[in-house]
Symmetry: C2
Subunit: 424 residues, 2 copies
């Protein structure tokens, strides 16, 4: 089955000006881009009349999807109280089934907002992967590891084996953070990741006190920890947050294997701070975008993170020229896909995977849009509510209110039940 | 004609917990709130089945609505270049008709997002008011004044006369800013405002250099300028931005007649900085929310400003407990209505004006919502795309995609034509 998106504008994070024409999808990939592409009998033709834009799928490069079940708990509390009194006691009650329904609920939300891939760190990750496969969404899965249990290394290996034949799923190794996992355990996990040729996903320098912790415990600055833990020698190190990296330390993270996941909403909401995005971009660090979990955002809206990333640093640095919309679109798409370990995903290019979002331009806030300013309109004036279609690997997972997932009402029902039980 | 909103949750910026029941609207006001309210034959009954929330209408307390026509021009340029090369030359081409269509386009966008009132400073304000009246939206209008022309005082008076019988329109006096209007002109305008018992709407301390300007030109700090210009003795002074007020100066603005319009998106986008909202709230300053014009935001989405105001300062101040959702909802509703000069607007209360928004809770991101956390869900997880109905003064201006304005397609068509002409 082929699909022809006819008469569209299209743009990705590498283009200064939008293209105009038709996009043909054959199987899982974009097979042709051009004017007046011919069709055969088995082609599903969608004429977009030049009031739709096609962009690459958005990637949520750091989240804990099942935390939709914990959304809104302990709002506006100090961090320690929030975690210890509201989040952890409730998380302790989560069953594998809860994780499945919580993740499915997150996927429902994300699919409608144009998210085609996500990097998830949580527990019961088989359930997370099963939900993702049911939706047909691309993902990178890591079991969050705390402490030094050897059995966790085994579990990480088992997760890798479980999904190794799934094209849409990459498994990564997930040491939680330097303050919950000793450096020797990082070394073991990084060694394993190198052996299996997979990525490592970890929290890194989210809050200011983590710098002091490393100094006291190991007499190291953050980048020394990266070096000594093995994180700089794994095939891919996805570092979530990186709010507190100093300017003179950034060169160490400006290497192709390191991916920094910027989570502006979550960093603001938890009072963690404002990451130095302007400097990361200047130094050539590969930055992607994440929402973090729904308990600390509380949306799973990568579009919102795009807009916020594009605005926040202009104001914080008093520089309206930094963090340009084109860079931010690249972060949310291509860079995100790379951070999940996928190649040929995140651009509108012939032979690249068909992970695409259809954006409705027939709205009042798009009056004035043209090929030369489409990216700016999307990032500054647009929002996730402009999304009318989301395609992953050549398949619609969301289209005008309908989902590929059969019974989304069941998801809401079951998630509600889980929520009620864990909060009772 | 009466309207009964049956089986709803309702909350405003004064309530810790949402109410549950029915709301009866009679004429322009809320006439009853309670359980199982009886109906008569002339009552339009809408059963919301407890999956809708009613909140007070959102107020955009600082904007230049017709600037929808300038959206996206000169993005990511330094401020001076943006204004002098892209904005001002295009603004010079605007005709009264353009202002009408640009404003109507803004109202289309705002109505669908739950905005029931706006404070506008621009030119050709009769056109702005006519568009607002056609939509049936509440507004405060001020002609932006630059320089010292006596004829501008006459024009401001004529605007006041023009709309003085319109219940939905308040006229305010609009000296542009202390760096474009000499202090003697401020004195004359404030004198006139006092005489007519109307408000003054002005830009104030948007960029850091404005402090230096006042020091050099008048040897004054900002609050001394407020005192000496007459702005502290008018019935209502709506000060847009106030990014650069020092902590020890805030007591002067913490008086009932002064309203600070916080515009977080615009302040970030233009690289102006981050206003000290946490301190304003602590000192008891009356703060409302604005989007500013669509050329510097680029949305007219008060809900987005609510979310941003609630997040931004937590991160900037490293304090997750500040700028609480309830305070921010009050800023976006009640405080905004007061800043526009309207009484009994902005609460869900018997005998208050029926400026209301209907929010659809039947969405995945509202799983887990209950009366005790509704405000937090709305501010942190919700967005303007959850709005399904917007009512002003007892009349629906937007309801499930339909507008009170007869021909919204004409608005888009005419606005497009205006845009093309002014940009050619």
């Amino acid at each position: 089955m082929k699909c022809l998106l006819k008469n569209v504008y299209y743009v990705d994070g590498f283009m200064d000006e939008a293209g105009k024409g038709d996009i043909l999808i054959d199987g899982d990939s974009i097979s042709e881009i051009g004017d007046h592409i011919g069709t055969s009998e088995d082609t599903d033709v969608i004429d977009c009349n030049f009031n739709k834009a096609i962009i690459p799928g958005l990637v949520n490069a750091h989240t804990h999807a099942a935390m939709t079940l914990l959304r809104g708990l302990g709002e506006e509390k100090p961090l320690k109280e929030w975690l210890e009194e509201r989040i952890w006691p409730v998380e302790a009650k989560l069953t594998p089934q809860d994780i499945y329904w919580g993740t499915a609920l997150a996927l429902m939300e994300m699919a409608s907002m144009g998210v085609t891939g996500f990097a998830d760190m949580y527990f019961e990750m088989e359930e997370v992967g099963e939900a993702a496969l049911k939706f047909g969404v691309r993902c990178a899965l890591s079991k969050g590891i705390i402490g030094t249990k050897e059995s966790d290394i085994e579990k990480a290996l088992r997760l890798f084996e479980y999904f190794k034949d799934q094209k849409l799923v990459n498994v990564q190794v997930g040491p939680h953070a330097p303050y919950t996992v000793p450096i020797d355990m990082y070394k073991k996990l990084c060694h394993m990741a190198k052996e299996k040729n997979i990525g490592v996903h970890t929290h890194f320098m989210e809050a200011a006190w983590e710098r002091d912790y490393l100094k006291e415990k190991y007499d190291m600055v953050p980048v020394e920890f990266l070096e000594n833990s093995g994180l700089l020698s794994v095939p891919l190190a996805l570092l979530a947050h990186c709010v507190w990296i100093e300017k003179d330390e950034m060169e160490k993270v400006a290497v192709p294997s390191v991916k920094v996941a910027h989570n502006p909403s979550s960093n603001l909401k938890l009072g963690s701070g404002i990451a130095p995005l302007k400097d990361y971009l200047k130094k050539g660090v590969s930055v992607c975008l994440g929402t973090d979990g729904a308990a600390s955002n509380n949306r799973l809206d990568v579009w919102e993170e795009m807009r916020l990333a594009a605005l926040l640093h202009k104001g914080n640095e008093l520089d309206p020229t930094c963090c340009k919309s084109k860079e931010v679109l690249k972060m949310a798409t291509f860079n995100g896909a790379r951070a999940l370990g996928f190649d040929k995903v995140g651009r509108i290019q012939k032979s690249w995977k068909a992970d695409l979002v259809v954006v409705d331009l027939d709205k009042p806030h798009y009056v004035g849009v043209e090929p030369s300013n489409l990216v700016q309109y999307l990032v500054y004036a647009g929002s996730s509510s402009d999304v009318v279609g989301t395609m992953v690997n050549g398949r619609w997972i969301y289209y005008y209110g309908s989902y590929s997932y059969k019974d989304v009402e069941e998801i809401k029902r079951e998630a509600k039940k889980s929520r009620e039980r864990i909060c009772s």
